[in-house]
Symmetry: C2
DNA sequence: ATCGTTGCAAAGCATTTGCATGCCT
DNA sequence: AGGCATGCAAATGCTTTGCAACGAT
């Protein structure tokens, strides 16, 4: 009997298509990275490079850590993935949203106490972005780094 | 002849006083760290731990790198220094402003292209902070992490 | 005199790189 | 077939830690 081939989630096949369109090769390692990141995205998890490496190892044990690092870098360059720098110095990865292109789908804030990352609507930082552009000529990339603070659950009542 | 003893800048003596008041010892290593950070503050430089270590080594060569790291940590805990997480994963240090206490004197944004750090007025993020508090119950710490973007000089016209 | 601090050296950890081999296109 | 991607292993760079000696109060 053949194992029923599970079809790729739409976001994964979209990512694969864009990879091919960019003239990049689709290898087992890259494919595994995309599936892992997609799965995490759909549970609102934000995975670091090493976490992605660990999960890739479960799905595709032959893939070396170094390859995961190299692929995360190249996939971000190609625009298939995007990454967010968290305050605590960790970097986490997302599937890039094709529609919004590179210009930050949504922003993030991180709880300094429990480490949780909260997604916030893209327009949240609009007023700040406008002010920085006007006052400093600074073009804010709202999705590229997360601000720190304390989430509701971690505030002592 | 005696070398003229240069008096401490006010912010350094203030920091030393607060250190003593907190029951912490004032050692040559700590004193050197405070002077280095103060000097950088006054030229709007934002130094990382290793940069501070390098400058401390010039002033007080006997001070070991590990000691600088330990002191940066303890001085932040005591509230004499504050640190800001930059998007690129580096952490930079400031003399904490006694008046504003721990609640973020000013905010920062960093240019993703040239790395420069721009100080922005404390009230810049007020509207965002208010919105996050209202919508998510999230208490934003505006001074603790920097957002990324592109500064005026790095935008291709 | 006490106990926090320090220097030293070694460990730790995440990430990167050189090189020969392998595999996607 | 050709050239990018990979595995491997070693190197790198920053930061931390155990421990005995030191020194600020």
């Amino acid at each position: 009997v053949q194992p029923a081939p599970t079809p790729d989630p739409p976001r994964v096949s979209s990512a694969v298509s864009r990879l091919r369109a960019a003239g990049e090769r689709v290898t087992p390692a890259r494919y595994a990275v995309l599936r892992v990141v997609d799965a995490a995205d759909r549970t609102d998890e934000h995975l670091t490079a090493e976490e992605i490496g660990a999960r890739v190892a479960q799905v595709e044990p032959s893939v070396h850590r170094a390859t995961v690092y190299r692929n995360l870098t190249s996939l971000v360059e190609t625009g298939v993935l995007s990454h967010v720098h968290l305050g605590g110095s960790a970097t986490v990865y997302h599937l890039a949203e094709p529609a919004v292109e590179h210009s930050s789908g949504h922003a993030h804030v991180q709880c300094h106490s429990c480490g949780r990352v909260l997604d916030v609507p893209p327009d949240t930082f609009e007023e700040v972005a406008e002010r920085l552009r006007r006052d400093l000529g600074f073009a804010l990339d709202t999705g590229h780094a997360a601000l720190l603070g304390t989430c509701r659950d971690c505030q002592t009542p």
